[in-house]
């Protein structure tokens, strides 16, 4: 008798779809997955309804990959439902791991977001400026929309998470290895980060490193790069020093500074504050005015520091309305 097939689900919360594409980017390996497992839910690729999940017994799923942050009541409902139905829940990709790009919305608030999207947006026709409500009555019917929360949460804020698979999106090779490891029952200790390395990006980066001194920052298009030399030394913001490796150094090898999507390096508690401390050490000036001028060369500092992890940081969110 053939071994019982693995029961898996892939779900997206507040996400862009890139994580699902990363799964598909494993190319023909996806066929092995199909042979190995029954995909019970995968909104982007496989038919499957929420009711089908609700009908399952608790723990019926062996594994759920949850990508995306928790932004609204639907995300939360599915996070809790899938947690109950799954033996293992993996926060897949930066948004589930740390809040991701949607997490930057924590710099503002719900009212401002609604106002911007539904009232201020220049593409809205003058007569159509309406803020949607969770419930709308129409011809005796009640139409429901998910409740939009005040802030964005990472998955672990809502439900206990077994493993974290970082990346925006996770590198396909790491996705493949992780699926094989989990399917093969090679389970690391609960709460660990999988599909990544126990070191930082610089450790894997082949560019040459020397003592760093920065006089000004450059956007990548503003400078002709030395392809051999550390990007940070050239004034290009690279979060590599504070970021966990495992991505394959994709960005720095393409001439872009690391944006930090794999989250804090193993010994780092908070990516953004760590990076700003490090910058403090390498900015080549002792004159406060000059330092301010150099720092002002970094556009949107908070978003640069916490591009993928504001909800998981010390800051978490802005409280000012």
């Amino acid at each position: 008798m053939a071994a019982k097939k693995l029961q898996i689900a892939l779900y997206w919360g507040a996400a862009c779809g890139g994580c699902d594409v990363a799964v598909l980017d494993t190319n023909e390996f996806i066929l092995d997955v199909a042979a190995l497992a029954d995909i019970r839910l995968w909104p982007i690729a496989v038919d499957g309804k929420y009711e089908d999940v609700e009908a399952m017994a608790d723990g019926e799923l062996d594994l759920t990959f949850f990508n995306g942050a928790v932004r609204n009541s639907e995300n939360e409902h599915l996070a809790k439902l899938l947690r109950r139905k799954s033996k293992l829940l993996v926060a897949f990709g930066s948004c589930a791991h740390m809040g991701g790009i949607p997490g930057l919305a924590n710099l503002t608030n719900r009212e401002a977001i609604f106002s911007s999207i539904y009232l201020q947006n220049p593409s809205i026709e003058p007569g159509n400026k309406k803020i949607p409500h969770p419930e709308t009555c129409l011809d005796d019917h009640v139409l429901e929309l998910p409740q939009f929360y005040k802030r964005v949460y990472k998955l672990a804020d809502i439900v206990p998470v077994d493993y974290f698979l970082p990346g925006c999106p996770p590198a396909p090779e790491q996705v493949k290895l992780s699926i094989l490891a989990l399917a093969g029952g090679k389970l690391p200790s609960k709460g660990s980060t999988i599909g990544a390395a126990e070191r930082n990006v610089c450790d894997d980066c082949q560019r040459s490193k020397s003592e760093k001194k920065i006089k000004r920052f450059y956007r990548p298009y503003e400078i002709i790069q030395d392809p051999e030399k550390c990007l940070l030394e050239q004034g290009i913001v690279c979060m590599g020093p504070v970021t966990r490796s495992g991505c394959g150094v994709r960005c720095p090898e393409s001439g872009m500074g690391c944006r930090g999507c794999y989250g804090p390096a193993p010994d780092v508690l908070d990516q953004g504050t760590k990076f700003i401390s490090a910058l403090g050490a390498i900015i080549d000036s002792k004159d406060p005015k000059e330092i301010a001028a150099i720092i002002s060369g970094l556009p949107d500092l908070t978003s640069t520091l916490y591009r993928f992890g504001l909800p998981a940081s010390f800051l978490q969110r802005s409280l000012k309305s």
């Binding site: 610089c202 490193k209 760093k212 390096a265 010994d267 780092v268 050490a281």
Partner: protein, 578 residues
């Protein structure tokens, strides 16, 4: 932050009434004893007293305390005291934390309720923190007994003799080809008018004949590597810039005394006295040269009938140096005596701003100088006397106009010779010296002491001492005292044989270090090395002062500050906020 299980003893000090008059220590005790980790909490009148310390020792022994918190004064004051008490009781001294409820509470607040709440918060922070403390051991390193003395002026000669007479090897280095430094340019000394030459000759002879002293003249320090007890110095000749020809000499030393002295303020920077234009306006050092040659005369060889001395040239002025050079006032009085003894008929005027006669015997010297008919004229700070050439009918070379402060009148006096009392300033090569031995300079270029009052000859770099006028302007007795103090400090260390290095320092976890090199340039103590082969940075723990700069900057979190771990600091923050 999870709290850790361990038995903590908390001791709240009244400090007589210093703390208890504002903070309700009993309320702090009650509050803190509610914390689950706190096994015992006591208040006591003076925790630092012997009975106070005995209380801790007894509780550790009888109650089996694993950690101790004392809420009292600043750790600067008594951390050492209480650590020693723990050690006596057999507990590792680092399993201790102080909460400062005096300087940070009772002395700065007058609202007793609020101050008591703050004292509770600070003590709680210490309790939560100490739970995460780890037992740390001090390191002992060997100590090379040789000393390098840089500069062979009166300070360097004195320090070298002090060390060599105690049987220790000394390398005495000077850029010049002779010994004696600036003092060799001076004739008599104030206030007792003994000869500088005599002072020096005795020392120089002893230095030259002492087998423990190796003289390195015409030489300079090129590089200093290593750390206290184990420095390696590279010395080169000053004559040659050709590295081929210039053979470097390497020596091993345990300590270094920097006594590189001063240079005189360049009088040409002050244009209004006509220095360089009027032939008979000279500096105090030009005058010392005349005195040493034994003939006071004007440019054309005439004996002056009138000599004027002007104080504070380049000193105590926002334009040049803001500080007082300390020795010029007494040197000026010395000139009066030397002139009067050489030319009894000479009229001497002394133009000063304030007469600084603060040293031993100085006020007497001032009085004696007044008795030899010196004309003292006081001019204002920010003002200056005006010198012009005299006319053919005058019986003098120059005329000086002074806005005299005591009489309130403008007075004109004759002069054949004008002596400008130029102050001291930091040598041009002081910055280079500071960089080589890794010490700091103040805004005027003087080297900075470890503590200006309590640790005046040590620096923030262990094993590097400073003495004499490279630290600040001072006279010979102060210079000699500093030189002997520095030598004494070193002899005390040599006697111990080994040096204890504080157990608190930064360390790099090589597994987490990525070799990004952000920390490399950051260390103010040059304690971080980069291993090119391993591509990892490394902290030389003996050189580390635990400032934490690299800990904060290390982007991969590989550098840990022992005794200042993230966990300990977060626990402390939580304790304050809870």
């Amino acid at each position: 932050m999870e709290s850790r299980e361990c038995k903590i003893g908390v001791y709240i000090c009244d400090c007589g009434t210093n703390i208890a008059k504002v903070v309700d220590c009993e309320a702090v005790r009650e509050y803190i004893s509610e914390l689950p980790q706190v096994a015992i909490a006591r208040t006591y009148k003076y925790m630092c007293s012997n009975p106070g310390q005995e209380l801790i020792i007894q509780d550790i022994k009888e109650q089996g305390l694993e950690r101790v918190v004392v809420a009292a004064c600043s750790p600067r004051m008594h951390e050492r005291t209480f650590r020693a008490a723990l050690q006596t009781a057999g507990l590792n001294p680092y399993l201790f934390e102080m909460a400062n409820i005096r300087e940070q509470c009772s002395w700065v607040h007058d609202d007793p309720l609020a101050a008591t709440e703050k004292a509770k918060a600070l003590t709680q922070a210490a309790v939560l923190r100490v739970a995460h403390h780890e037992a740390l051991e001090q390191m002992m390193v060997d100590m090379c007994p040789n000393t390098l003395v840089i500069g062979a002026g009166i300070a360097g000669l004195t320090a070298a003799l002090e060390l060599a007479d105690a049987g220790q090897k000394v390398y005495l280095l000077d850029k010049q080809d002779h010994l004696g430094g600036n003092l060799a340019r001076v004739d008599l000394t104030a206030p007792y008018l003994d000869s500088a030459r005599d002072l020096l000759t005795e020392r120089i002879t002893r230095v030259k004949t002492n087998d423990n002293i190796e003289l390195l003249l015409n030489s300079r320090l090129q590089e200093l590597k290593g750390y206290v007890g184990n420095f390696s110095a590279t010395l080169v000749s000053v004559d040659s810039d050709d590295p081929e020809e210039n053979k470097a000499q390497k020596i091993e030393v345990g300590n270094v005394i920097v006594c590189t002295g001063y240079k005189e303020f360049p009088a040409e920077r002050v244009t209004h006295f006509g220095y360089g234009k009027l032939p008979n306006v000279i500096t105090s050092f030009d005058f010392e040269k005349m005195l040493r040659a034994g003939r006071i005369e004007s440019k054309d060889g005439k004996i002056p009938k009138y000599v004027a001395i002007i104080h504070c040239v380049g000193s105590r002025s926002p334009e040049y140096h803001g500080y007082c050079s300390r020795v010029c006032c007494m040197t000026a009085l010395k000139y009066v005596h030397e002139i009067k003894s050489a030319i009894p008929s000479c009229y001497v005027s002394d133009l000063y701003i304030d007469m600084h006669a603060f040293g031993k015997g100085h006020e007497d010297f001032y009085r004696r100088t007044s008795e030899v008919k010196t004309m003292f004229l006081m001019f204002g700070k920010g003002d200056h006397p005006i010198i012009r050439s005299a006319g053919p009918k005058d019986d003098c070379e120059m005329l000086i106009e002074v806005n005299e402060q005591l009489s309130g009148e403008v007075i004109e006096i004759p002069a054949d010779l004008v002596i400008l009392m130029v102050g001291m300033e930091a040598r041009e090569d002081a910055t280079e010296t500071a960089r080589l031995v890794n010490i700091s300079q103040d805004k005027d270029g003087w080297f900075i002491e470890s503590h200006p009052k309590l640790d005046p000859v040590a620096t923030t770099t262990d094993g590097i001492y400073i003495a004499g006028t490279c630290v600040a302007p001072k006279d010979i007795p102060d210079t000699v005292a500093q030189a002997r103090a520095a030598a004494g400090r070193i002899l005390a260390k040599i006697a111990k044989g080994k040096i204890a290095v504080d157990a608190i320092y930064a360390e790099i976890n090589e597994d987490s270090c990525s070799g990004c090199r952000i920390c490399n340039e950051l260390c103010p103590y040059s304690a971080i090395e980069f291993d090119d082969e391993k591509k990892r940075s490394h902290v030389l723990s003996v050189m580390c002062k635990a400032c934490g700069a690299c800990v904060a900057a290390c982007p991969s979190g590989a550098i840990k500050g022992r005794h200042f771990t993230d966990q300990q600091i977060f626990a402390q923050i939580e304790g304050v906020l809870r």
